[in-house]
Amino acid sequence: MKVASSLVAFIGLSALLISCGKDVTTPNTVPDVVTVTNLYADTTTGFSPTGRPIGRNEFTYFSLRENKIITGADTLTNKWDIAFKQFYIKVNGGTNATGGGNAAAAVLNTDFALYKKVDLPNTAFAQDNGATWAINPMPGGWYTYSTTTFIALPIPGKTFVIRTADGRYAKMEILSFYKDGVTPATSASPAEKALKQFFYQFRFAFQADGTVDF
């Protein structure tokens, strides 16, 4: 995973602020935007005898605060905020969540870069309950999948606002489903496309200080 180097410093700083500071109105903590590339989300590991791509059918759990993948027993805690499997993105909140957190998400149609303040009522946030997902896994919602070209693309202008497992806020934008963030050529074979997909590239900003500003 590529991680902006400034982030390490930032996390250290914000952790410090959270641990000792109660002054939540401090305006100078606009979080950096971090880009994550090649987050595997049930990538294709083989093909069925009929040629259907097969993965491990596993979610990859991710902590926005830590900017890292959460594995093992920690996936049953509120250490993770969001998890990825193919086109499914779940939050650590609701009956489908394994961590018992109270995370929730809202999908907005707005420019990620220009979204500076969470101004949503609590009712705008949803959790994952049964077949109802906070982030709708169907094409046409926040991504498209062409049955002509077999290429999946995130729809520009879709910004996820995430209330994390520990009640902080983050904004997030999916940039690509493909390895290294490079969409395969339209003319590439379906198999090649399948082998390169479900490597998420996304960017996010996590507001660790409990405010709603980005």
Partner: protein
Amino acid sequence: MHSHRLLFLFGFTCVLTLVAIGQQVQDTLSGSSDDVVVTATRTERKFGNVAVPVTVIQKQAITATQLRRLNELLQEQTGIFVTSGSGSGSFGGGIFGNGAQLQGMSPEYTLILINGEPIVGRQGGTLNLSRLTLGNIKRIEIVKGPSSSLYGSEAMGGVINIITEMPATPQVQLNAKAGGYGLADVNAEGTYANDKTRLQLAYNYYRMGAIDFDETQYGNQHDPFNAHTAQLNMSHAFSNRLKLVAYGRYYYEKSDNAYEVPDPNLHPVRISGNTTINDANVNTSLLYSVSKKVKTALRLYATGYHSSQQLIQDSDKSDYYTDDFRQQFYRIENQTDITLPANNTLSAGGGWVYEKLNTTRYEGMRDNSIVYGFVQNEWRPSDKVNLIGGLRYDVNREYASRFSPKLAVRYSPTKKLKLTASYGAGFKAPDFRQLYLSFVNNASGGYAIFGANEISIATLQQMQQQGFVATILPKAYDMQQLKPEVSRGFNLGALYTFCEKLQAEANLFNNDIENQILFDVIALRANGSQVFSYFNVQRSFTRGAEVNVRWYALPGLQVSGGYQLLFTGDKAVVDQIEAGKMYGREESTNDVYKMTRSDYYGLPNRSRHMANLKLLYTHAPTGWQVSVRGAWRNAWGTFDRDGNGVITRDDEKAPGFLLLNAAVSKNFGKRYTLAVGAENILNHRDPENLPNIPGINAFVSFSVLLQKQNHHTK
């Protein structure tokens, strides 16, 4: 085929009956001159009196180009965009061969006729025009804009009608063309003609070698193929009042397929095999003049199309893919034209269509029948004005019935100026694919697509019990009987003759298309893959202007040019943009921006600007002829790459290009003609977007015409 025989039997019974009744009245159908148009009104009309936008390409113009296939000829015409085997199939058409767009409307909305009867065998909605040879064509008539009031389904964007030739004198014509990329075209025609009977036999052989832009890669951009076309054309006048016209055509094409697919470890696996197409059509018409004022025609038509693909894996000869597609179409139709008092001409008719499909893609055999009636009246209060009103009603067994009106007016205030205005409605019936497809794609995630008649809430619930479907989505409850896709078109035209040598015409058009059929997700399978079905959802528009100029610049030199400006769009997308809800993404920075109306490049597979310029120089005394034609189109949309589903960025477009073709010919006496020339002189190559256009391709062609001097007076 059994039903073929029945139709013929019926036809000949009718012949005999009508022979008995009709003996003495003059045959008003003979003596048609070349400036006649039949497609606009389904009656013979002078070009100058036609009130809807029509292009007529005459035989001499076709011959001068030395082109041999319909797609090649059409891409040089103003306002006709020939799709090139790529681009978005959902609306632009094009992944299935070379189809023709008229006024920016998709190729699936262009009805293709030979002698007034429809050709079948569309793949993904597109009829591949390279199936049609230009040998023995008298003229091609193109009516632009919705024309279902006369032609019914498919005539949503317009009609291309190929009129085959029937020389009045006995002759034999041989023609051979050879060029690079293994191009060969041989055409032989023989005609017998006397006072009462004309008979023509024609045979065409066409082949093209592989087009391979990248020799390091196994496989071709365009596979080698060869095709045979045999045609029989005949007419017989039993009397001055009764005439029989028959036409038969058989087409066979075989292409050799070879390509590589990667296995799970991305090691190449070689696939090979072949694709064959068989296509036959037979029409028989009886034309009978009941009196000087009443003419009637009985038309019997049968056509069939069969395509088959067999692919094997080279390594172990195991079956890789098999596809078989058979379509049959039968029609019986009567049309009666009556001259009424006060300069009215009434045409009325009706017919019955039976259509049948059998394919590996659907479950079993599917059929459908249509009964229709139409009426049209043309009123000519004076030489300056004619008014046409028409309507047609189609009653269908499998989907909602359709009513298609038309109104057209011509006004010529002076001899130099013709003004026209027309309104027409068009429709395209849901096709068999949209009704009956039953397809589970195991190769790409296990998604499934079902035609609207194959699926219902009840069947979905059944599938849920059987475990095929996990979740039924709310969209599934919107499913209902598919309605035909419909279009409404307005045209405003002016034709001005400055002098004998210079003529210009302009036409403004606006087409609104509704109920376009697209698929949407109705359910989810346990593995998360989707189940689709078809819905009447999309609304779009095409509008623009077309200009054509013809100028006899010097003795023997004809200069013609044309231009089309085209704006298209999906109305829902335009609404979204105007509501500020659509974004685009910059390719380099990944940053998003709010789209404005000008960021939207309209429907895929459309060029905003298309232009052509043609020079034809004929020096009759020496028999030299030079034809130079340039056809240009600017960039057109191909595939979305930034996720907003529409064409915005440059990497979502194919670059525009200029296609330059030229031919020089010399007649040696009346019998022999030698021609040389080249196509794609500028050597424009675009493997991804224009796989069927090779680089520059020089050719040589030779023809012989043996004609008996005509002693008959017609």
